[in-house]
Symmetry: C2
Subunit: 282 residues, 2 copies
């Protein structure tokens, strides 16, 4: 239980998180800050937060737990503000989708970083990005990838782990570098492929009424391509090396499939069948 | 209203279709045939069909509407059986995912093909393929792509169109060649990409517990890779030319994205943003 939790960035993800915190009664007060005053007004009016901060950051200096819910490209600025205003014993986490870069940044910008900051990545979200699309059940039952380093304080680790557990999340610990590699394949690459597929389809002269064809596998991809452009630009840049490698792997795999399809033997069936069997075993 | 409708292939898709027909009361009797006697027994026991046929095809010779619900690779054999046993005025359609090849085949194998056969492709389905996974609401509100040729009889066209409409489906007509081109991009390519992505992830040594990571876009892809291997082998072969071209387009698009990510300018953000804007406009 925290006396006060501070949501730095009250967009869709931050707003939904505030709702979960309120529901689980994990804090006496929930405070928020956002670049956009209209988001803060919406959050206060709808009782998602108790109060919002202004640029003097008076509420930030009272907070016990600070959760960064802003795009990755703003972290440099946000860490600077937090470092200047936070209480000595306040703890800090985030919900960003790439971790290695921002953990390096935190070690440069946060005083006693190993005692106060640990990266979190909730595997939750949806494509609509403003606070009016918040969802009080977004975090419920979701997996949180917690990314401590070898230097992270054990007590801090326990506190943040307990915080997520109290929201009914399942917490898994993973090294930041492994996190970024795994996510480049399971999340970042699929999102980029969506953009690629959607672009191919949008550029096709044969397809006039795209909505007519959403039943055949397309909708699963198009959903991802509605995701926030700024967020995804930030993720790509923050995890550039792994994502580039993953794209190369996918190109190679597609070249193999193309070859196999054009062989008149059992290798295509075998490829499809074996993939399914391996997937079911996992 | 038909006196009897015959489902040739009572798997998940055929079984679900029989349920829709029964629910909509479009036929007095529903008959079925399948290679697997256990599927037929299941269908009869669960009152999905009224009776099942044996290899003398006595019930087939009574049917007014015959719907082929078998894998594309079996159509040659199935057209042969239908041609041999069907009533003169019986009409025939199917639910296959690729059309040009099988329409050519029907013109070779079915007597009076233009008066009796028209291809249909319901944009409906799920990954689990046996009849015990049937879903009585699978076809409800789904789009049916009807693929008449310039020679298809108008009355036949109207009958099959009315049949699908009576199941609360939305019927759209499309030329067979355009259908196969469009589907290669909106459905066949996304499915193959799923297999490719899943393979990359399964081959990754860093990913031990795949189920932990299903929240970040991966599940949308993995869902597709559970699809029936035989069906997808058949689709790939039947629509080989278009699918090959679509894979080449995707490789090119991924190469572009890789370049853009590695530039330190606004082109990545612009690419993501423009895709989303174009998608929202469609």
């Amino acid at each position: 239980m925290f006396n006060s939790i501070y949501i730095f960035g009250t967009g869709m993800m931050g707003g939904s998180l505030a709702c979960s915190i309120k529901q689980a009664k994990v804090a006496n007060k929930i405070y928020g800050f956002d670049r956009e005053i209209k988001n803060l007004k919406y959050a206060k009016k709808n009782k998602i937060i108790n109060d919002y901060d202004s640029k003097d950051f008076k509420l930030l200096s009272k907070a016990d737990l600070i959760i960064i819910c802003t795009p990755l490209s703003s972290y440099k600025k946000v860490f600077g503000i937090i470092n200047k205003h936070k209480k000595d014993d306040a703890i800090v986490t985030d919900i960003g989708s790439a971790k290695s870069d921002i953990i390096k940044l935190s070690s440069k910008l946060l005083k006693n970083n190993n005692q106060c900051f640990i990266g979190s990545h909730p595997l939750a979200g949806k494509e609509k990005s403003t606070i009016n699309n918040h969802d009080k059940d977004m975090y419920k039952n979701s997996v949180i990838l917690l990314t401590p380093t070898s230097k992270t304080d054990k007590k801090l680790n326990t506190s943040v782990c307990e915080f997520w557990s109290s929201l009914k999340c399942q917490v898994l610990s993973i090294e930041p570098e492994v996190h970024d590699l795994v996510m480049s394949q399971t999340s970042h690459l699929p999102h980029l492929v969506s953009f690629a597929l959607v672009n191919i389809i949008l550029n096709s002269k044969s397809i006039k009424n795209i909505k007519a064809y959403t039943g055949g596998g397309f909708k699963d991809f198009a959903r991802l391509a509605h995701s926030d452009s700024l967020m995804w630009k930030d993720i790509c840049w923050s995890n550039k090396k792994n994502i580039t490698k993953s794209i190369i792997l996918l190109i190679k795999e597609l070249q193999d499939i193309k070859k196999i399809i054009n062989r008149n033997d059992s290798s295509l069936f075998k490829y499809l069948k074996d993939t399914k069997i391996k997937l079911n075993k996992k």
